[in-house]
């Protein structure tokens, strides 16, 4: 082979295009670039279309029309004036003329009508006399663009019903607890559950994850025990091996399906540690729970789930602190811990926080492990402590979408909006926090 390559005809160095050929060559290369640019643009547009479809779908369900049927029309009660404009005396008069005397007496016994506020009276009139009833649900697109069809349809089935605009996402929806009546159901219980879970998961996984990341990045090669005695050597070896084992498997751990963490959580936190996670060892017994299916168990499970990602992202943030910073610190006589605490951590903190918040925000959307550990799917009481029963947003949404009534589909869509807003604001908070910490480190 070597003799072959020495043959003179093998020593030609080819030719580069010149003149017209060079120009054509350039334009053909440019053309190829343009084609690729077009393909990349198409990919981007595809992504945007998917996003728009998602948004359309959600909005289409969360807002729209309802067919409402009233027992008594408001105008008939008030001679055409809106209820809100009536005085207290007029409202009481309406109640007295329209309610049966037994109902009236009951109300008086609870609290005299004259002592009640106007809002309260209006509520009573709505509930007891007007009695709105949702008899049909229409999506936003039907409500906006298909009005004649749905009106005709409604007139056939419920001649007295009217079509009204309805936003299923409302302040009432956010602050009311769960109910089996979809029109009255709210998402407060699930929001509180999610927030509780989020905080607790953060509280558990942040120190553990960052601690492990610091050890793996800064101390892995240290020998904490005396090398001169066999036991010390053995311990050092064991520590280094387990650190190495964790390090090489951490990516595998982060890829383990979340349901498996759920099974682990069920076995460990819900069952084995029931005394602890139910609060029994602290003398705390929630009569409605009385087992380990508590927020605490869920948070511990979620912490297991996000821990690998928290460790990985913290490791990356710590690794990104330039070695020159560490050397400068050591060069001044700092110990390792001083260097880690005063130089490495402050510089890595923006990255650590962003990574942690992002990985935990992923956990908000997790449903599978929580189903496995037995989170409640129907619960009307707010969580009050670590040891409460709870539900979370995705579970609540899942529960609603699996019901047949169209009203539930609509509030599920409203719930999805709440979940997305929560997620996006967490991500935004992560970005703002990072920018803030960065700017602080540079300018001070």
């Amino acid at each position: 082979m070597s003799t072959e390559s020495l043959r003179p005809e093998r020593q030609s160095i080819g030719s580069l295009p010149e003149g017209e050929a060079a120009r054509q060559n350039v334009s053909s290369r440019q053309r190829r670039g343009k084609i690729w640019q077009g393909i990349l643009l198409a990919c981007t547009i595809f992504g945007i279309i998917i996003l728009l479809m998602l948004a359309y779908n959600i909005v289409n369900d969360a807002f729209g029309g309802i067919g409402v049927q009233y027992a008594v029309e408001e105008e008939d009660l008030t001679d055409g004036r809106p209820l809100e404009e009536l005085s207290q005396a007029e409202l009481i008069a309406i109640l007295e003329t329209n309610l049966r005397s037994r109902v009236l007496k009951n109300l008086e016994r609870e609290r005299p009508l004259a002592e009640r506020s106007r809002e309260e009276l209006i509520d009573i009139i709505n509930d007891e006399i007007i009695k709105p009833e949702v008899v049909a649900v229409y999506s936003l697109s039907e409500f906006l663009f298909d009005r004649p069809t749905i009106e005709a349809e409604l007139r056939k089935s419920h001649p007295r019903a009217e079509i009204e605009f309805k936003s299923w996402l409302s302040w009432d929806f956010i602050v009311t607890p769960m109910s089996s009546n979809p029109v009255e159901a709210g998402i407060r219980t699930a929001i509180l559950g999610t927030l509780y879970l989020l905080w607790l998961t953060m509280l558990i996984s942040f120190p553990l994850g960052v601690g492990a990341a610091i050890y793996l990045e800064e101390y892995k090669n240290d020998k904490p025990f005396d090398e001169r005695i066999p036991a010390g050597r053995w311990m050092n070896n064991a520590i280094q091996r387990s650190a190495g084992l964790i390090e090489t498997n951490i990516y595998n751990l982060s890829g383990v399906p979340s349901i498996i963490y759920g099974i682990l959580g069920l076995a460990i936190f819900v069952r084995a540690l029931e005394q602890f996670t139910s609060g029994a060892v602290f003398g705390y017994a929630d009569p409605t729970t009385a087992n380990g299916r508590t927020i605490l168990s869920a948070a511990l499970t979620m912490s297991l789930l996000v821990l690998p990602v928290v460790i990985i992202s913290s490791q990356e943030a710590i690794r990104a602190v330039p070695g020159s910073m560490r050397q400068a610190s050591y060069g001044l006589g700092a110990t390792k811990w001083q260097t880690v605490w005063k130089i490495v951590l402050p510089n890595a903190m923006p990255g650590i926080l962003t990574g942690t918040i992002l990985s935990i925000s992923r956990a908000i959307g997790e449903t599978a492990p929580l189903i496995v550990i037995g989170a409640s799917t129907f619960i009307v009481t707010d969580p009050t402590s670590l040891f409460s029963k709870f539900t979370v947003l995705p579970l609540q949404i899942y529960n609603w979408t699996s019901r047949p009534q169209p009203e539930f589909r609509a509030i599920a869509a409203a719930g999805i909006i709440v979940l997305l807003v929560l997620l996006l604001s967490l991500n935004a908070a992560a970005i703002l926090l990072r920018n803030y910490l960065r700017s602080k480190r540079v300018s001070t």
Binding site: S324, A328, Y330, L332, A334, Q338, T444
Partner: protein, 266 residues
């Protein structure tokens, strides 16, 4: 490290048959020389001959490199720095370091200086710290340029100012020896000149060891010069010649030194 062995020897650092390894590779072999107090000693030689390695061995910065190992002795006031009972942290407080690339902390100028004393257990009032910071900055000829913006980030300074900040940071812990590894290689000629002037001033109070590729710089500022060269066979750096700077540059004993300093080599 005990200070009882502190003697009035004229040498700050002495090495005895020093060999430095990176894993199995011997980077520096059999270096024996003594660095005089309150003098500037320049380490010169072609790239890869082990100058930085030797310099880092003086304050045990090589300890931070996994696999690095030093054999032989490095005596500081008669005490071997590599004795098992010597703590590298203690060594580095007394033998400070300035690096090739300016590396101020992303903190304020004030905190950059205050960091060293604080981590070393400094005690005093805020006013005393102000005084300490001022003295360090005056000592590094930076005070006039930064006295109105002590709260600004150290990173907001120019490269040359950053390097003087690093020098101020090093002298704030009151070391005896300052090691400088190519401190001017990232700087423009004017900043370089300023740092050279500064070194000549610092010589009165500190022992300075500097690595440089700039022959004129070595000739201008140093009192002694050590010339290192890589052995052709085992690629380990060795000390070829060590003498008064004027002698090394004008009348070297070794032919290889002459070739190097006259620019016909390396």
């Amino acid at each position: 490290m005990s200070t009882t062995t502190m003697n009035d020897s004229k040498y700050a650092i002495e090495t005895r048959a020093m060999n430095i390894y990176y894993g199995a590779f011997r980077a520096v072999k059999d270096v024996t020389f003594s660095i005089e107090r309150n003098k500037i000693t320049a380490l010169i030689g072609p790239s890869g001959c082990g100058k930085s390695t030797v310099l880092r061995s003086f304050n045990r910065m090589n300890d931070l490199i996994p696999g690095a190992r030093t054999e032989g002795e490095v005596l500081y006031h008669g005490q071997n720095l590599y004795d098992p009972d010597v703590d590298a942290v203690q060594v580095r407080r007394q033998i400070g370091m300035v690096f090739q690339k300016p590396n101020p902390f992303p903190k304020s100028i004030y905190d950059n200086i205050a960091y060293g004393p604080r981590i070393n257990g400094w005690k005093g009032t805020r006013a005393e710290m102000d005084e300490l910071v001022e003295r360090a900055l005056v000592g590094a000829a930076l005070w006039d340029e930064v006295k109105d913006k002590l709260n600004q980030s150290g990173l907001s300074l120019s490269g040359g100012q950053q390097q003087r900040l690093c020098i101020a940071r090093a002298i704030a812990v009151q070391p005896e020896v300052i090691l400088m590894d190519e401190p001017c290689s990232a700087l423009d000629p004017i900043s370089t000149l300023k740092i050279e002037e500064l070194m000549l001033e610092l010589r009165q109070r500190y022992t300075i060891v500097i690595v440089t590729h700039n022959m004129q710089q070595a000739a201008r500022v140093s009192d002694y010069t050590a010339f290192f060269l890589m052995d052709k066979e085992d690629r380990a750096g060795e000390l070829v010649e060590y003498d008064v700077t004027s002698k090394v540059f004008q009348n070297p004993a070794d032919k290889r030194t002459e070739e190097y300093v006259s620019g016909r080599f390396g």
